[in-house]
Amino acid sequence: MVKPKIHNNSKDPDKDFKIEQSTLYLKYSLLLGDLDRWIPAVQEYIKNMQDPITEINLDGLKKIDSAGVAAILQLKDELIKNSKDVKIVGGSPSIRKKIGLFSYQEPPASRDRRRMSFFESTAESFLNFYHDYMVRYFTLAADVLYWSVTDIFKSRTHRKGEFYNQAVLIGVNAVYIICMLSFIIGLVIALQSAAQLRNFGANIYIVDLIVISMMREMGPLITAILVAGRSGSAIAAEIATMKVTSELDAIKTMALNPIRFVIVPKMHGSIITMPFLTILANVMGILGGMLIAYLYLDIGPEIFINRMGETLYNRDILIGILKSLVFAVLIVLTGSFFGLNVEEGAEGVGKVTTQAVVVAISIVIIADSIIGLIFY
C-alpha cells in the first residue's frame, strides 16, 4: 500500500485514525466537535488511495456520540460504493451499544416512481392543477351559489345576525378607506390629464374623462381590490383556521352545512354591500375630479354637473354595478376556496391567506377586462 502524501492542517493526523492494509483504524474520540476536522481528513486520505477500504476497526476508539456514529455509518455507505463490502469491527461493548442505538435505517422506500419525461411531467402538473384547482373551484362555486340563492329567505341555516355581522365586516368597515382612496385617485387622474386638456383647449372634457373612467372602471376596480385585500384575506384566514381546528368538522357533525353556515352569510353580506361601496367610490372619485376641475381648469361645480348629465348614460352606471356584483361573488368564492384548501397546521393558514389575496385580485382584474370586452 502506498501511503499518500496528505495535506492536513491538524497537527497530527495520526492522532485520529490510521489506515493499514485496507483497514481504517479509528482512535481516541469521535464526538460532534471532532467531526469538522476528522471528516475532511479521512476523505482526503481515502481519495488518494488505490486499494479500497474493506474494514473499519473501532478497537482504538474510546469515546463516541450520536453524531460520531452517524459519521461512521455515512463513511461506510460511501466506501461501499468502491468495494463490495465494508465491515465495522471491534470496539468496546459500550461503543458497539451506542452504534446500535444511534444507527438510522432508511425506512423501506415506497414503490419506486418511474422518472417522467419533461412532457409527461408538464402534462401531469397541468392535470393536477386542473383537478386540484379548476374542478374544485367550480364545484365550490356551484354549491355556494346554489345555497346562496335558496337561503335568501331562510335564516335557520346560519346564526341569527350573522348576515348583518358580515355586511358590517365586509362592507361598512371598508367605507372610510374606500372613500379616501377613490377621492385621491379621482384627484390624481384629473390632475394628470388637466394639463394635457388645457393645451388643446378641451377643458370641459375633463368631466367625460373622470366620470366615465370612475363609473365604468376605476370605481368598481378600486373597491374590489380593497375588499379583496381586506376581506378576501380575512375570509381565507378564518375558514382555514376553522378547518385546522376541526371547527368545520364540528359544524358538519352538528348536522349543519358548513357552506350554508359559514360561507353563505359572507356571500350575502358582500353581495349586498359591494354595489353601495362601488357607488360611494364613484361619487368620491368624481368629487376629487371636480375639485381639480375647479382649481386648475376653471370649471365650476355647476358646469361640471351639467356636463355630467350629458355624458353619463344609465348603461355606464349599470355596468359598474354589474361589475361590483361579479367581483363580490369572486372575492368571497376565492377566499373560501383557499381557506378550505388549507393543509393541516398553522403555517398553512398564512400560506393560503396570501394565495387568496393574490388570486382574488388577479381574478378580479381578469373578470374586469372580460366584462369590459363584452360591454365595450
Binding site: R159, M242, S246, A250, M254
Partner: protein, 244 residues
C-alpha cells in the same frame, strides 16, 4: 337489547397519498356500552373516528351506524343521523368566534324551536354538569385547556344524543378531573342509556369505563372484544399495555 349493534365497521381501509393509514379495520360497537378505541399515537384512531363520522369518503370497506350505511346517505338522512350523535373533537372544535354559551346552545338553537330562555337554562345545566360556572359569556380563547375540553364535551352532549363520540377527552386533564369525567361518562351511559365511543390512552380510565375495547396498531386491529378478555389476552402488545 344489550346486544344490539349500533356501529359496524367491516374491512375499512384508507390510504392518504402513498401512505396506507388503515388496513382492513373491522369491529362493532353495541348499544348502551362504552367502547374504547386505543392504540399508540399515530396508529390511526382519529382517522377511524373521522370515517365513522362521515368526514372522510370511504375508500374501501363498509361502515354502518344505527343501521345506516354511511356512504349511502342523502343530505336529509345524513342530517338525521348527525342529530343522533354528539362529537367531541381531539382539539376541541369549539367555534372560536362564538362564546362558550353560544357554542353550547348552537345545536339547540339550530335544530329545535325552544325559546331562548329555556335553551339558556339547558345550556347552563350542561355546563354545570361539567363543573363550568361563569364561563357562559367567555370566548374559547379565554379558557384553560382543561376547561376547553369540558366545554366541548358539554356541547357534544347538549342534545342528549343516543350516541356520543369522544376523541381523547381525558388527555391533559389532571387525575381528579379525569376521574370525574369518567364518572360522568358512566352516568351518561347508565342514566340516559347513551352508547359511547371514546378514544383514550389512560389505562386507569379504560379500566374504569370500558365495556369493550378496540386496539389499533399501525392501522390494523390487533384486538377487539370485551375488556375482561383483553386483560387475559395472550397478544404481546395488548398484554403489555395492561400489565406494565
Amino acid at each position: 337489547m344489550a346486544d344490539k349493534k349500533i356501529i359496524e365497521v367491516n374491512g375499512l381501509s384508507a390510504t392518504f397519498g402513498e401512505r396506507e393509514v388503515l388496513r382492513d379495520v373491522s369491529f362493532s360497537a353495541y348499544q348502551g356500552e362504552v367502547t374504547v378505541i386505543l392504540g399508540e399515537s399515530g396508529s390511526g384512531k382519529t382517522t377511524v373516528l373521522k370515517h365513522l363520522l362521515g368526514l372522510y369518503d370511504i375508500q374501501e370497506g363498509y361502515v354502518s351506524i344505527l343501521d345506516n350505511d354511511i356512504s349511502d346517505l342523502n343530505e336529509e338522512e345524513q342530517k338525521d343521523l348527525y342529530l343522533k350523535m354528539g362529537v367531541f373533537y381531539q382539539n376541541g372544535g369549539l367555534l372560536n368566534s362564538l362564546t362558550v354559551g353560544e357554542n353550547v346552545s348552537l345545536p339547540l338553537e339550530q335544530h329545535t324551536h325552544l325559546d331562548d330562555d329555556l335553551i339558556r337554562r339547558i345550556v347552563l345545566t350542561k355546563l354545570q354538569l361539567m363543573h363550568l360556572n361563569g364561563v357562559y359569556d367567555m370566548f374559547p380563547s379565554q379558557l384553560s385547556g382543561g376547561m376547553l375540553k369540558r366545554a366541548a364535551l358539554a356541547r357534544a352532549m347538549v342534545m342528549d344524543p343516543p350516541l356520543l363520540f369522544c376523541d381523547e377527552p381525558g388527555a391533559g386533564l389532571d387525575p381528579i378531573s379525569l376521574a370525574s369525567l369518567d364518572k360522568l361518562i358512566l352516568n351518561l351511559r347508565k342514566e340516559l342509556g347513551m352508547s359511547i365511543v371514546i378514544i383514550t390512552h389512560e389505562v386507569s380510565s379504560i379500566l374504569r369505563i370500558a365495556d369493550r375495547i378496540v386496539f389499533i396498531d399501525e392501522g390494523k386491529i390487533i384486538f377487539t372484544g370485551k375488556i375482561k378478555d383483553a386483560l387475559e389476552s395472550k397478544n404481546k402488545e395488548v398484554h403489555d399495555f395492561f400489565h406494565i
